[in-house]
Structures are given as C-alpha cells and as structure tokens.
C-alpha cells in the first residue's frame, strides 16, 4: 500500500533562518507531488507541484523553492524565512488528472 511521510511535524524558526521540509512517498512510482500551505486553518494554497524528477512548477512567487531529487522525494526550502511564511504545510500526491490526493500529516511552521 502507498504511504506518504512528511517531517518534521512542528517547527519554530527565527526570521532569516533557512528551511527544509521533506516529503517521501512509498509504494508507488512516478507520483505527482504537491506542496500546499494553509494559513489560519482555512483554504489550501498550492505552492509547487512536480510531475517528475527535476520538474518543478511554481504557482505563487515567493521566497520558497522546491526540488525533487528522487522520484518519490519532494523538498520544500527557503534560504531566509519571513514571518509571513508561518503556516501549515502539506505535502500530497496523486497519479492521474482529477484523482484525489493523499496528504502527508503536515508541518506546522512558526516563524518568530
């Protein structure tokens, strides 16, 4: 069966520090991978998605970046965090257009 792992679960980082959040999927190959951010417990904003190794599409210009170094690994990074980067970050995957997502357990990031 397929599983998705996301870590860490919570993170408190000072403004200006770097960020690295990791997401891995097991039990499938060539998944489509997504990073979403949810602010104030409301709607999900798509940040990045990837349909293959090294292929990253950015939805919202900001100081975050994403990479996909391996087929089932998706990393969200920042060189210098801003206060506005605080939020709940979710990784997700699916296989085909229109399919629902399976979500990771999320990372609650607080930038102080």
């Amino acid at each position: 069966s397929q599983t998705i792992h996301q870590w860490p679960a919570t993170l408190v980082q000072p403004v200006g520090s770097p960020l690295s959040l990791e997401c891995t999927v097991e039990g499938t190959s060539n998944p489509n991978l997504y990073w979403y951010r949810q602010a104030a417990g409301r709607g999900l904003q798509l940040l990045f998605y990837s349909v293959g190794i090294g292929q990253i599409s950015s939805e919202v210009p900001q100081n975050l970046s994403a990479s996909r170094p391996q087929d089932r690994q998706f990393i969200l990074s920042s060189k210098k965090l801003l206060l506005s980067d605080s939020g709940f970050y979710l990784c997700a995957w699916n296989r085909r257009p229109g399919d629902g997502y399976t979500f990771g357990s999320g990372t609650r990031l607080t930038v102080v």
Binding site: N32, Y34, Y36, G41, R42, G43, L44, L46, Y49, V51, L90, N94, R96, P97, G98, D99, G100, Y101, T102, F103, G104, S105, G106
Partner: protein, 110 residues
Amino acid sequence: EDKVVQSPLSLVVHEGDTVTLNCSYEVTNFRSLLWYKQEKKAPTFLFMLTSSGIEKKSGRLSSILDKKELFSILNITATQTGDSAIYLCARGGSNYKLTFGKGTLLTVNP
C-alpha cells in the same frame, strides 16, 4: 482562473441537526469534485464525484454533484460533536492539481 467557492464559511449547529454545505466551481476542463474533512491535521478524503445526480453516501454523510448548475452539496444528518471540522471542497481538472475552496468551518455544540 479556476475558482471553487464554498458556503457558508462557518456554521454553528447543535447535535442532532442536519447541515448542508455548498460548493460551486468553474467548468473549465472539469473532471472531478472532491470533499475532504480536516480536523487538527491533514485533510481526510470523504467523497469523489464525477457524475451528475448520483448520490454518494457514507454513514450520515452524503454528497451529490450537479454538473449543469456547477455545484455540489455535502449533507450531514444527525450531527455529532465529532463532525466539528473544516470541510474542504476541491475541483479536479485535466491537469493533475486540485483547486480547493476556502472551506466551511462546522462547529457542532452538544
């Protein structure tokens, strides 16, 4: 721009009440309409709807899609405090990504 609009944004009811949550979407390259429930952490899948007029049920929850009027509803009967959550609606299109609405925050009081 893909848009998914949910209403109401928040709702407070008493245990035992029946609630109806609404979701409207844009038609461009539509493939599916999905409902998720989110409590403290990650959203969990409830329903995926692709055909108009066919109700999907799971216990006290049910959902239906109207592809002519471009909306879906999620019904919860005999609500319980454990139903308190954010309910998210999402639209799937011809690309891989889902577009989410802002969610409905449901609070069920004892």
